[in-house]
């Protein structure tokens, strides 16, 4: 019965809107698309869009041997070498002598020139008749496992909850390889314990991945050769240049989603205006049916567009992959966009607000999608974004199924979370009135809470948001950390992480109380608090486990590194260290829970106490290790 209802609602959604677009609009849309479609080949014909054309000004003589290099690289604008260095030109080239202006820009120009010369030389050399003199060196690149057994002076990174291998951790200035990397929310209360349950340094079953692009995306050799697994090439085949191409490819996939969510957000919000959606709430259809039915056409539409784009690119690009991986990776991205829009439409109170929400979502998720994808060719961090898989598929690089999982599961999970939260608001009280946002937040959380046990589930579900918030906190503190002494910014980061985690544990409990899902006795509060703490602990450790199994290198190294000093500890103590974070989470969550029985002020008091406890715990652990 349910699928039938979903399909019926989907059909209605399509026909209703098709009826809504009158002939005039359709005509304008058609004309616009035609005109723009006609402009596209023109754009491509004139060489596409080069964003950095004429970026650096180079003063060079025509007689200089470097002149052809400058001319062939569109990043350079050739000018008279007699012009003033610094203000009018960034590089001055006389014969073979190159002088750069004394600025960041000058140095960047110099670096660009260097790599231009290299590629120019390679081009010239490939026209030579004596190829072995032109390319006197051949390289075979191999990747080899190695088992690190020491902790000495490595700048390995802590692989706790927060660290998916994001650059935030690598950038943290307190290097010198300590497990107490404060950027990690888990680090201080779980690292040591992790060491004892983490693997002792054996990575995934020692396969030697030769030229496998997915291992670190560094198999540049495999990439630039024609799709085969050959690993031999010239030195310049190693490590391709800065991937502008990936960026543009990634961008192409995200643009259609922007349009889709505009329309989707509109239709969701319009159900809320003038109580239009009220009748469907009375009908024998569930919220899930309605939401699924209304979302389905937009999901399929987006999938269709992305498929077209992928198909087009694959067709134009020789030696690309099958495209199946690309499509598989695009699905979670589409769902993430749709779910975020849905949640936004449930919270927005007017169309103006919805516009802001839609733009924010587009910007935010686009950043998420393609900033990591920029580093597709460079580091495994890129796997955070599903677009990395897309780009790799297009480039014809071999893709490990595991990396597909790694890329797609987090956004899928987050999309699910957003849909669940939004569904919590899909009811009469939240849809049609201007309910204040804090109350709505509680409603959305309580949507899933039917009894005490559900609290644990909701806390687990909230993990993506926790991670995201922690990342943002770290990113926010990082720029100012340069100017502050270590204890202060360390404390700042620790504090923000603690606050985020405590909120994540306590808000669902509070939502349940407000909605009378369980009674307000002390016993009940303690039980609920314990469950929330347990849920959080499970989610945290589960994530760590996933990272370990998923073979993210930093995590493994960190686990290894932390295993080092604890290798000599007996199993009993190890177990104790493992359970310490569990105790912490249970105690803090229970503290908040007991406090919130008496309402908002009690909640504030309980939460403050919990934050204090957690902070003290973290801080002391960090201080112990540092």
């Amino acid at each position: 019965m349910r699928p039938r209802k979903i399909l019926r609602i989907a059909r209605w959604e399509v026909t209703k809107n098709a009826g809504g677009i009158d002939r005039k609009t359709a005509a304008v849309v058609a004309v616009t698309l035609l005109v723009l479609g006609g402009a596209a080949p023109l754009v491509v014909a004139q060489g596409g869009v080069t964003l950095d054309e004429g970026f650096y000004r180079v003063g060079v003589d025509e007689e200089s041997p470097l002149y052809p290099v400058v001319e062939s690289d569109s990043t350079f604008a050739a000018q008279d070498p007699d012009e003033e260095l610094g203000s009018e030109i960034d590089l001055r080239i006389r014969a073979t002598q190159v002088v750069a202006s004394d600025s960041q820009k000058g140095q960047a120009a110099l670096a660009e020139l260097r790599s231009s010369v290299d590629s120019y030389n390679d081009r010239v050399m490939s026209a030579e008749s004596n190829q072995s003199a032109a390319f006197p060196v051949t390289v075979t690149l191999e990747y080899a496992e190695r088992n690190l057994t020491t902790t000495g002076g490595t700048d390995t990174l802590d692989g706790g909850t927060v660290n998916d291998g994001t650059p935030s951790d690598s950038g943290t200035p307190d290097d010198g390889g300590n497990d107490s990397d404060p950027a990690d929310g888990d680090g201080s209360d779980g690292t040591i314990g992790d060491g004892s349950n983490g693997t002792t340094g054996d990575g995934p079953t020692g396969e030697e991945s030769t030229g496998d692009g997915s291992a670190g995306g560094i198999g540049g050799i495999a990439r630039s050769l024609t799709g085969s697994d050959a690993t031999t090439g010239t030195p310049s085949d190693i490590s391709p240049p800065f991937p502008f191409q990936s960026l543009i490819l990634a961008f192409l996939f995200v643009i259609p989603l922007n349009f889709v969510i505009q329309a989707y957000g509109s239709t969701m919000l319009s159900e809320r205006l003038n109580r239009r959606g009220e009748l469907m709430l009375v009908a024998p259809v569930s919220r899930g049916d309605i939401i699924a039915g209304k979302t389905l056409p937009y999901f399929l539409g987006a999938l269709f567009f992305e498929g077209l784009i992928a198909g087009g690119i694959l067709y134009l690009q020789p030696d690309s992959g099958s495209g199946l991986y690309a499509l598989a990776a695009v699905v979670p991205l589409i769902l993430l966009f749709l779910s975020a829009t849905f949640l936004g439409a449930m919270f927005a109170r007017s169309f103006k607000e919805l516009t802001f929400v839609t733009v924010s979502i587009t910007v935010g998720l686009t950043t998420y999608a393609f900033v990591p994808a920029i580093f597709t060719d460079v580091t495994p961090i890129a796997l955070i974004s599903p677009l990395t898989i897309v780009v790799r598929d297009i480039q014809g690089v071999a893709i490990e199924p595991l990396s597909v999982l790694l890329s797609t599961l987090p956004p899928l999970f987050t999309a699910g979370l957003f849909f669940v939260l939004g569904a919590g608001l899909y009811r009469e009280e939240d849809m049609f009135t201007q309910r204040p946002i804090p109350l709505k937040v509680l409603d959305s959380l309580a949507g899933r809470i039917h009894r005490r046990r559900s609290v644990a589930l909701v806390v687990i579900l909230l993990m993506p948001l926790v991670i995201l918030a922690e990342l943002v906190a770290v990113a926010a503190v990082y720029p100012i950390s340069m100017g502050l002494p270590q204890p202060i910014w360390l404390g700042l980061i620790l504090f923000s992480i603690v606050v985020i985690e405590e909120l994540a544990k306590s808000l669902p409990i509070y939502a349940g109380f407000v909605h009378n899902r369980y009674d307000r006795s002390i016993r009940s509060a303690l039980a609920v608090g314990a469950l929330a703490g347990l849920g959080f602990f499970l989610a945290e450790k589960g994530l760590l486990l996933a990272q370990l199994l998923g073979g993210l290198p930093e995590v493994q190294q960190a686990a290894v590194v932390s295993a080092g000093p604890t290798a000599g500890i007996g199993p009993a103590v190890g177990l104790l260290l493992l359970l310490a974070p569990l105790a912490l989470h249970v105690v803090t969550a229970a503290t908040s829970a007991v406090g919130m029985r008496s309402g908002r002020q009690g909640y504030a008091i309980g939460l403050t106490a919990a934050i204090a406890i957690h902070f003290l715990y973290n801080f002391s652990v960090v201080m112990l290790v540092v």
Partner: protein
């Protein structure tokens, strides 16, 4: 008196925007991007910056019969090496973590064959590969010089090494235009909303009962929304500067943003007034705005490139001319649209 009316309309729209709490969200996101930019640049550069890694890590193990050539090349590339008698010895050292990678070079009949071994799947891999490449490219250059007799053309000599951030270009060609052109896009979108909302709610009638013409309404709303964008642009420029990303030609950039903002606001207003319905108008606005942005590639210089070059100080006359050209276009379109709006029959709503 008419000026007051238009300013009143503009002021009311801006005030209602500020009451909307979600504008805070959009602004926060933009602040985040601006702030994140420096973090992005600095944090990621350190990936490539050998200085952040202890020197012991950067040593390569070298073996094979062409060790000396490798030695020489490594010295040029600034990479430390440790020589080993056999490959096995070098690999052992690699496994023990004493060296970050192994370069084993043998001379074949005509070429030098190198087997480079780097750690598997970690950030260190990146570093190792980059350094290996540096060494091997130096080797290649030396060898080419040695074999110059066999070559028809000489390779171009390499300029000196630079101490540059790899993301300099990215910052100015992607980040800066993004931050500068996002506010105009939003402004245009809000213009559509602001007009269609009045029409759909029927409050346009109320405005008109007062001695306010449709043209006044258009003026007030368009100008109000258009002003917001350059102000935001100024804020982001300030934020970027604080983060160590210097921006040149601030005045020209603000003019550019204002011109683009006016253009899209006019677009939004026209769509809002002619279609009268939010959904259609927004859809068309998005398509046309983005399409125009892409089609702007047909201009001698794309607005994004203009922004990048202005920000980094590489502007040419074409660049500056484009700014003024866009401004003229914006003003011209605004005037034309204004006259068109005057001919619309307000009864149609």
């Amino acid at each position: 008196m008419f000026d007051d009316v238009r300013i009143a309309i503009a002021r009311r729209d801006i005030a209602s925007l500020s009451r909307e709490k979600t504008i805070v969200l959009a602004l926060v996101i933009q602040i985040f991007i601006a702030a994140f930019s420096s973090f992005l640049v600095v944090g990621l550069t350190s990936l490539y910056d050998p200085g952040s890694v202890e020197s012991g890590e950067l040593t390569f193990g070298v073996s094979g019969d062409t060790r000396n050539e490798l030695n020489e090349a490594a010295r040029e590339a600034g990479v430390e090496i440790e020589q080993y008698p056999t490959r096995t010895a070098a690999m052992d050292a690699f496994q023990r973590g004493e060296v970050i990678g192994v370069l084993h070079a043998d001379a074949s009949s005509e070429q030098i064959e190198v087997t480079a071994t780097v750690p598997d799947g970690s950030i260190q891999s990146t570093l190792a590969v980059v350094k290996a490449r540096d060494v091997l490219e130096a080797l290649e250059r030396n060898e080419r010089t040695n074999r110059a007799a066999h070559l028809e053309t000489n390779p171009v000599p390499l300029p000196p090494e630079a101490d540059a951030s790899s993301y300099f270009g990215f910052t100015y060609t992607v980040l800066v235009p993004l931050l500068l052109f996002l506010p105009p896009f939003i402004s245009g979108s809000i213009t559509v909303d602001v007009l269609t909302e009045e029409i759909e709610r029927g409050t346009l009638e109320l405005l008109r009962v007062a001695p306010v013409s449709l043209t006044d309404i258009f003026d007030g709303k368009a100008l109000g929304m258009a002003i917001l964008a350059p102000i935001q642009a100024l804020l982001w420029i300030a934020l970027l500067s604080v983060n160590g990303i210097t921006i040149d030609n601030v005045l020209l950039l603000v003019v550019l943003v204002a011109a683009v903002a006016l253009l899209v606001v006019v677009l939004g207003a026209v769509l809002g007034l002619t279609l009268g319905q939010r959904r259609q108008a927004q859809l068309l606005y998005s398509i046309i705005a983005l399409g125009l942005f892409g089609a702007a590639a047909l201009l001698p210089e794309h607005p994004a490139t203009v922004a990048a070059k202005l920000a980094v100080g590489s502007q040419t006359t074409v660049t500056t001319a484009t700014v003024f050209g866009l401004s003229a276009l914006a003003v011209g379109l605004y005037a034309t649209t204004r006259r068109y709006v005057g001919t619309i029959d307000p009864e149609r709503y």
